[in-house]
Symmetry: C2
């Protein structure tokens, strides 16, 4: 009856030299990045944490909101916010990053939300452990996936859907996954999932379903639209591999002051303390290096204290700035041996591009 | 010694057919718009109100922060935050909009922050009246402009500067202008000017200097960089006219649900209540009309109650949606007789483009 394809097109890759389109700009205006100077904050203040909303921010009535837990469970649950608040609560500091962070630097550019490098933020999330909820409900034999459904509804690449992602039972019951109702000690802001969301530490943001209204335990590995969409593939036909944990990345607080339009930096000659933050969803960050010559040579950075297994870690390095042009970079290495590349590693969806970002600087 | 022009270029207009550049995208990622569905809120929740930062968000230490009032005054003041908190405080609900809202729809496109139509938001601002501060300081004879300087420092079109704007003494002493320390009952978020900012109700956002650290009374009409930049002109040589008050605009909450990429909407056939908000800095909004056929015919909308002289006003209209394609628009008329145009009125800076925005809808 309706032809959704008229307004919902297949994914595509930009033509060579094609500028950012109005469609991409519309997404960039809605889905905001963390400005780089906000790397100064260990916990990102409200409104500076990155936001990605696939469809619309739902208009949630907290008094009427329920979260259901059903499917292959002994005791299906229907929980109000008061029920969730009455359960044992935990707080975890988590760095979340969008899987598409870095996409706009890919060549050719996958046409989607055109993130540069700011799709990141760190918050203290408070809520109930997903594994505790599943214990209360009682997982039945044969349970394979825990499907989490949000209230956000839309159409994407021609497919009408609620936003849904699944976790395997093993992933869902690690004890780390939270059903959160609070961000930095306050109720969730609307754009971060008010009143209830999932937080899957260590994973790219697509796993942390916002506006969570249903948890459904099923007997098969869930492979819904968002599992097909978030795959690293080279061609549309390539089955690819799923996007899961966050690849290591280090970002620098840009030193000096910026030009309004180019965001290039001006720094006075002399010693400059470079600071930044680094994270990985695979293993603790073990090493950060900083370069002032676009990666030709590297300085070892000093790591700040650890802020927990899922939070970014500060670092600093001293740079003796001499007059002229410089290109600053940082790169992180984690305990699993993953090292940030200098050049993007291309894939059709523009996912997991953790290439080191250059910051152009004029030293005067 | 340093050549700022290497990283800070003159303003320019995009070539015909030129896509959004990486420079513009970088600004769009930092400076976020209000997502259209947030029009449902009378007061915009934190993190959804639009943000424009010319340079970096300063790293403010509230304990050390002072606001000085000097120049042509009898009693120069140096005020701490505690001093400001001890003065008589007022709260005003204000709709702020960026002067460049709508710029990205201009043809040819002025290359700057590429706003579509979301550079707006409404907040309850609380603080001290600027006129009370100036009374305490005692304006001297010969005072002409009140220059307000922020702590944000950068380079723009080749000119290094702190962000500064002036108000004439008449504008500064109306009683409406606030030196605000609170937004929606909380301390200002960093990106909205923490710890102190100016709020100039009815004016485009460039007048509402953030991170306010100095008020300087001078004997001439202040004509600093940001007064030269924010002018409506047709050519670089055109002296132009200053950008001041907000032109009328009505925006619709997009009905139905969106496509992820195109943001086109899907709506079920039948009666649809269209809602939105309208505002003007010149005079109260008197009339809002809504069109479902891209402006060929218009429906009269019903206005909600007034929320004060500087806040947007809700409106609603009933639309009988029939299957097929539709293009929704709204347009506002204020009591000064200003009517929103359908087509953009071009100027070289892309300012005050309040043309009615079309929303493509598929009715099924």
């Amino acid at each position: 009856m309706s032809d959704l394809s008229a307004l919902s097109r297949p994914s595509r890759v930009a033509d060579p030299g094609e500028g950012i389109s109005l469609d991409e700009l519309r997404l960039a205006a809605r889905n905001h990045a963390m400005p780089a100077e906000a790397l100064r904050y260990d916990v990102t203040p409200p409104g500076l944490h990155y936001v990605l909303t696939h469809y619309d921010i739902p208009d949630a009535d907290p008094a009427a909101w329920t979260l259901s837990v059903g499917g292959l469970v002994d005791h299906p649950l229907t929980l109000s916010l008061a029920d969730l608040d009455a359960m044992t609560r935990h707080t975890v500091r988590v760095t979340l990053e969008c899987a598409g962070n870095g996409r706009a630097a890919d060549e050719p550019r996958p046409v989607s939300q055109p993130w540069l490098d700011g799709a990141v933020g760190t918050a203290d999330w408070t809520g109930v452990r997903l594994t505790d909820l599943l214990d209360d409900a009682g997982l039945q034999d044969g349970a394979v996936s825990v499907v989490c459904a949000g209230a956000d509804h839309g159409v994407e690449r021609g497919v009408e859907q609620d936003y849904e992602r699944g976790l395997t039972v093993a992933e869902a019951t690690t004890g780390d996954v939270l059903v959160a109702t609070s961000m930095n000690g306050d109720p969730l802001p609307p754009q971060h999932g008010f009143p209830v969301r999932l937080v899957v530490p260590g994973w790219y943001g697509m796993a942390s379903v916002k506006w969570l209204r249903e948890i459904r335990v099923v007997d098969h590995e869930f492979a819904g639209f968002q599992h097909q969409a978030y795959r690293v593939r080279q061609t549309p036909e390539d089955p690819g591999v799923p996007v899961t944990r966050i690849e290591p990345r280090a970002l620098l607080e840009p030193p000096g002051f910026p030009d309004f339009m180019s965001r290039g930096r001006v720094v006075d000659a002399g010693p400059v303390e470079l600071r930044g933050r680094a994270w990985s969803g695979w293993a603790p960050v073990e090493r950060v290096e900083v370069s002032a010559d676009d990666g030709a040579t590297w300085l070892e950075a000093t790591l700040d204290g650890d802020r927990g297994p899922y939070a970014w870690r500060g670092f600093s390095a001293s740079w003796d700035a001499t007059p002229g042009s410089a290109s600053l970079r940082a790169r992180a290495t984690d305990a699993s041996g993953r090292v940030q590349p200098i050049e993007p590693v291309w894939n059709r969806g523009g996912f997991t591009n953790n290439a080191s970002q250059p910051i152009p600087v004029l030293v005067r």
